[in-house]
């Protein structure tokens, strides 16, 4: 039998914009068991282990999106107050959305995300050398 809160969740539009999402779930991407506790926020929207998310919202918390694509973490946005936000990109529809980091997000994975540009060959050491030389002239 459904209790009242269950009904509200199911039928009320944009329930999660005003109510915390307290569900525990298993990450669809890496299989990590995600507990509600530990995030330090009421709106856990990505896996603390692999940092992936699922495209559920059009605007944060509305659960209005029909896309349900997996959202890949592609970068970090440092906000004015110094707080980090993970930038997610939907691999199905391409939507970008920033999401606050949670207290229990894996710090190594977060740093790996921030370091990614430096591990690629787009800007090589030779490029930087040319740049330095041009500025010293």
């Amino acid at each position: 039998m459904m209790n009242r809160e269950h009904k509200r969740r199911k039928y009320k539009k944009r329930y999660f914009q005003t109510n915390p999402c307290t569900d525990s779930f298993t990450c669809k991407i890496c299989g990590w068991p995600v507990a509600f506790a530990g995030a330090g926020t009421n709106h856990r929207n990505h896996c603390p282990n692999c940092l992936y998310s699922i495209h559920l919202d059009n605007t944060p918390g509305d659960r209005e999106s029909k896309c349900h694509g997996r959202m890949e973490p592609i970068g970090v946005w440092v906000r004015k107050n110094g707080e980090w936000a993970i930038i997610h990109r939907c691999t199905l529809c391409g939507k970008l959305s920033p999401n606050r980091t949670a207290a229990d997000d894996n710090p190594a994975r977060l740093m790996a995300l921030a370091l990614r540009p430096f591990g690629s060959n787009v800007i090589t050491q030779a490029d930087v050398k040319v740049l330095v030389n041009s500025m010293e002239e």
Binding site: I74, V78, I87, R89, M111, L113, V128
Partner: protein, 165 residues
């Protein structure tokens, strides 16, 4: 007032730039485009493709339901090292808060690009010297990995000093 009809100063500026550009073009003078954010001037008179090559700022052209372009300023907030060694500048509109990607171009200001890419590294959200300890606390175990997507992130952590691929 309908919020979709509000314009930012950038959009006005852009319109003025377009106007003066076309006027100048008629008079045979093409050196008139100035970036509304940093004042960068185009040598050739060509408008920047997607963002200003000097400050990486763009104008948000996305249209609302009424077909009115946003006109806000797209600020560069991050770099995405996309597969196949293509970098995308992650931009965020200061007016409507939407984010979008803009492909990095050859003539883009490298110092600006590197500065944006290194910002997270210079303001970490936790003490970097304790990163291993913290990772243990958050309970990450390799046996939990079931997907190749996760592996490539891990790969970058272990190989971040060497050139991979």
């Amino acid at each position: 007032m309908n919020k979709y009809r509000r314009r930012t100063e950038y959009e006005y500026q852009k319109r003025e730039n377009y106007q003066s550009l076309s006027e100048n073009a008629e008079n045979g003078n093409k050196r008139s485009y100035h970036c509304p954010n940093c004042g960068w001037a185009s040598e050739t008179g060509d408008l920047p493709q997607d963002h200003c090559p000097n400050c990486l700022v763009g104008i948000h052209e996305a249209e609302d339901e009424e077909g009115i372009p946003c006109g806000g300023m797209l600020e560069p907030v991050g770099i995405w090292a996309a597969p196949k060694d293509s970098w995308e500048i992650i931009q965020r509109c200061t007016f409507c808060k939407q984010m979008r990607l803009s492909p990095m171009a050859d003539r883009d200001n490298l110092v600006k690009v590197l500065s944006i890419a290194s910002k997270p590294l210079s303001s970490p959200p936790f003490p970097l010297e304790r990163i291993k300890e913290l990772a243990k606390l958050t309970g990450v175990r390799s046996e939990m990995r079931k997907s190749g997507d996760v592996d490539h992130i891990e790969h970058i952590v272990s190989d971040r000093h060497g050139k991979t691929e």
